[in-house]
Symmetry: C2
Subunit: 612 residues, 2 copies
């Protein structure tokens, strides 16, 4: 899979995306508001951009909506352009100020940066005024009020004060002065928010005084070379102390590199960044901090720590200002990490009087149900099917992947990422395929393929290894010449994934005593969530059918949570309240787990608890 860089202007916001990703999806990834009326169908023409570098031809839709002059000057629709090279894109549509994603989600935030800067004019010493350097600084800064004394600052203070003609800027975190700069630098106050995913790391460099995103950067998590998923990384890390250190340095190094890239892009110095927030699942959290994740993999799967942490940048060798602070969002449990806390923060479920259901889809699927009153969370072991893995023709959501499948009256239609001949199906297409075939009666509620009476598309049923399979794309239509099929085993894999998620939802419903009608909104988070067709998800019962019209895709809400925590001490403090508000439910230890799981494997279940 090849990745390309999109640079959005103004602001030099940058993201790495797989080949074939639309500019609109890239904008979403970059945190740029792109909530247009047609939803990215190429119909409304609002998502005008100008391609400054990396041109591509206009589609039919675009020719209808754009003038000839526009097309000639490089104007295109962001939803219609698929990335096939590094490109630079100018955003032409009106944006809602700076706090794009936050306002895009109708969030208002009071800027209360963790770090503040105060320019101080210090008295000159004299024989008549022999106060110590520190005392003169304190008197000017805080009227002499006692302050924590950082040795590092004291060491440099005499020279600094005299070099600076006694005009300096104090950098403080909470009540502590952490830095002292020459002259008046109070106008520059930067922070960087990081979302450390198992697969990729995204950073947002921000002016914390204004809330503006100055640069967005991302990279693959270099820990992938030690294992693709959390479990294999834990297995690697616990082997010996050195390996843990190696994994920690890998992620710290990658983050420090991204800090450097972001600073360069924004034309600032990494030393101007005094604050960083970090969100990640519990395993990423532990590896980032150098905490052995051994016990995350052993029952009862307890983390070393949940509560929010503030760590000195120099203690973990992160290359922001060495006096800076790294704020790490709190975990909820061993398999419900700070990323979920960040999603709750961003979606304000903890402030909502309405009950909401949040599903963050991945190999481990975090589910949160509740409101400001109480929330319940669990981690459902959905397995890799939804990410296209362990599926006969499965693949990740990369170029060549069928991402959506539509059953029209006559045909099986599909779209392919990168507009190339298909090579396989990704998770969203798997969902579409099963949902469609279920509605057509080709799959029965028990998940059996070709169990009923023959009918439409029956000609596509083929036999494979003595069990039936459904032909999605014939060999002559594919990139590799082999047919792309949906096998009985694939359906079983999806059933397991769907069963795990449904079980999670059902057990949380039971724990909370809530009814389906209590749920006012279903929030689907995560990269996969953005491709997912809500109708398909509901059709197979992954999301309860009753909730179909309440489903809302919220994209990388964890990243939004990281940004909010960076911009506001109040928001960061709220994370501690959030984790207290959430009851973690360990699915496997629930008495009725097996029963519920068995029931939810069927595609026609509604509540799964035998209520209907």
């Amino acid at each position: 899979m090849e990745y390309f860089k999109i640079t959005f202007q103004p602001g030099a916001v940058e993201v790495m995306v797989p080949q074939g990703t639309s500019l609109m999806d890239g904008m979403n990834e970059a945190g740029i508001d792109c909530d247009f009326s047609c939803g990215g169908m190429g119909k409304c023409g609002k998502c005008r951009v100008r391609i400054l570098k990396g041109a591509s031809g206009a589609t039919t839709d675009e020719r209808k909506l754009l003038t000839k002059e526009e097309i000639e000057s490089g104007v295109r629709l962001a939803c219609s352009v698929k990335v096939s090279d590094d490109c630079t894109v100018e955003l032409l549509f009106e944006r809602n100020g700076h706090k794009i994603l936050l306002e895009g989600q109708d969030m208002k935030i009071k800027l209360e940066p963790h770090v503040s800067k105060t320019c101080v004019e210090v008295d000159n010493p004299s024989v008549k005024d022999p106060r110590s350097d520190w005392q003169r600084l304190k008197d000017a800064y805080s009227g002499g009020q006692d302050l924590e004394v950082p040795l590092k600052i004291i060491k440099g203070l005499p020279e600094l004060l005299r070099d600076a003609n006694h005009l300096v800027t104090a950098v403080s975190f909470e009540d502590e002065i952490i830095g002292m700069e020459k002259g008046n630098t109070a106008g520059v106050n930067l922070g960087i928010a990081f979302d450390i995913g198992t697969t990729s790391i995204v950073g947002y460099l921000m002016n914390v005084a204004t809330g503006e995103v100055l640069a967005t950067v991302s990279t693959l998590n270099p820990q992938t070379k030690f294992g693709g998923d959390v479990i294999s990384r834990i297995a690697y890390a616990v082997d010996e102390e050195q390996k843990l250190e190696k994994m920690q340095s890998a992620v710290i190094g990658a983050i420090s590199d991204l800090v450097g890239q972001a600073a360069k892009k924004a034309g600032v110095s990494g030393d101007d960044i005094y604050c960083m927030t970090v969100v990640g699942n519990t395993c990423m959290h532990h590896l980032f901090l150098g905490i052995n994740p051994r016990y995350l993999a052993l029952a009862p799967y307890v983390p070393a720590i949940c509560q929010p942490m503030v760590v000195d940048a120099e203690n973990i060798d992160i290359k922001i200002n060495q006096a800076g602070k790294v704020l790490v969002l709190p975990n909820i449990a061993g398999y419900v990490g700070g990323d979920t806390t960040a999603v709750i923060l961003a979606t304000e479920m903890d402030k909502s009087r309405d009950v909401k259901l949040m599903i963050d889809i991945g190999t481990n699927c975090e589910i949160v149900l509740g409101s400001a009153e109480r929330m319940y969370a669990c981690s459902a072991p959905a397995g890799p099917a939804l990410e296209g893995a362990q599926i006969s023709s499965g693949m990740r959501g990369a170029v060549g992947a069928i991402d959506h499948i539509y059953f029209t009256k006559q045909q099986v239609e599909y779209t392919v990422i990168g507009d190339v001949k298909p090579r396989g199906i990704c998770g969203s297409a798997l969902l579409d395929a099963v949902a469609g075939l279920l509605e057509l009666g080709i799959i029965d509620s028990g998940g059996r393929l070709a169990a009923g009476a023959p009918g439409q598309f029956w000609d596509r049923i083929v036999e494979q290894d003595e069990v039936p399979a459904f032909l999605l794309a014939a060999g002559e239509d594919t990139d590799h010449g082999r047919p792309i099929m949906l096998t009985q085993k694939d359906i079983r894999q999806l059933q397991l994934a769907k069963g795990a998620i449904s079980t999670g939802i059902n057990i949380l419903m039971e724990k909370s005593g809530l009814e389906m009608s209590d749920i006012k909104e279903v929030l689907v988070a995560g990269a996969f969530g953005n491709y997912l067709n809500p109708h398909s998800a509901c059709a197979i019962g992954l999301i309860p059918k009753e909730l179909e019209n309440k489903v809302k895709m919220i994209g990388n809400a964890a990243g939004v949570g990281a940004k909010l925590s960076l911009l506001s001490t109040g928001e960061f403090r709220r994370t501690a309240d959030i984790i207290r508000l959430v009851d973690f439910v360990e699915l496997a230890s629930e008495a009725n787990f097996t029963e519920v799981f068995a029931q939810t494997l069927n595609f026609d279940q509604r509540r799964g608890l035998g209520h209907d």
Copy 2:
């Protein structure tokens, strides 16, 4: 000058002393109470000790006071034994509990150690109780109350809890947990107090839970190789950054070595020491912390910082437990440092309703005058005369130095350190000589030698370089065969020293508006102070004559202050109040400085302000 080690038992309290020092002076140096009725004249017989190693013959006095059996079993009087080799000494007299020096000064102290240790039995995790390791610890330790989270502890916590079967001991400093030990170690709570002098460093390893001194250690300050006094060290340090680092490492290394020695002696591990207090003059303070002392040597001589500091041991690489804390006592001004603050703490001048005058004698002589209401402090540049330097026959208080001189009717008698033939005179003898000759009329009030009519001892007046000198010891009586003399120039040197100190006292009196009769006690601190004959000091007017019967020698009170600060958070906090209570007076900037100084050069001045 050769140094020997005395080890006092029980307790393995150890000091290094110059050859010829009496065991009693060694005890005083080691902080062992030795305030006996005859004052060390070999008359009361109370200071019985048994020499376990390093025997020496008994003196006549001892034969009178000790039985033959006692003498055969090695019993001696501490005041009569001069050290001529490393020795081990058992203390036989009754000691007043453990807090010897403190109680010797009638001090009561409430033990409130900075570091506390709490044994915690932590719940085991289970599927029904998946609280994080840290949460389970917190719940057991503080009922779940929020605590600062030290990353280092979290990193090791999962393994530690399981290794320790969930029984651990939390080590805390203020509200912060700084260490976590396996099992129950709450019974071991150690600290070490250091007095960093320009010349020597003394450390006291203490059980902070009981106040017991477990070991006393000392060494020469290795910075002496960069310069003997404060000014030459500053000159060396400011030259380049590397030299400052070199000087810091030298003192840090010496202290770390002493920590190791003290721990070994007491049979404990250096890792069991979590707290250290440090007192020193402002220059030693700055060099210890790696703060450039450049501006201490440039007018207006301001320190980088005065207030009390708490520094992480690992940040300055001090070899106590790496999670431990180093507490540094606050300075009062550029030339009145944390050692003076410690003396005020130990003498409780800040709590006293009575006005006291404290003089800490050295090259720079710190003077403090006042009471709980208000105190005034200055540093008087006494110069090195009182330490025997820049005196024609002068030397330090080492072996071969005449330390005391008595003018009897017929003779000039003297005592020599080490009971050898004299090689020179140290500061106390200089004082005795001038005081005696002044009383005999051989020196006039203007300091002129042989100005009056010839009389007793007039035969000892010799001519040297065309000015008169007084023969203290003839060549045939000295070690080197050269006569030991007091020259006119020596007298002038002492006049300058005395003038500086008197000026300091007089200006503080004036600033404070106090009368001589207001002063209830004169406290003379410092190593030199212990040798000084109060009568001589008053006879020459170094201490006002009216105060002669109020003079009290208090020995190394700075070391006592360091110990008090180690044993009690309240005492350490008091140091911050003390420095606020003290007004620093910069002598040189006082308008009447020159006038007062000129007046105080005369030996007959009383107040020096022209009042009489």
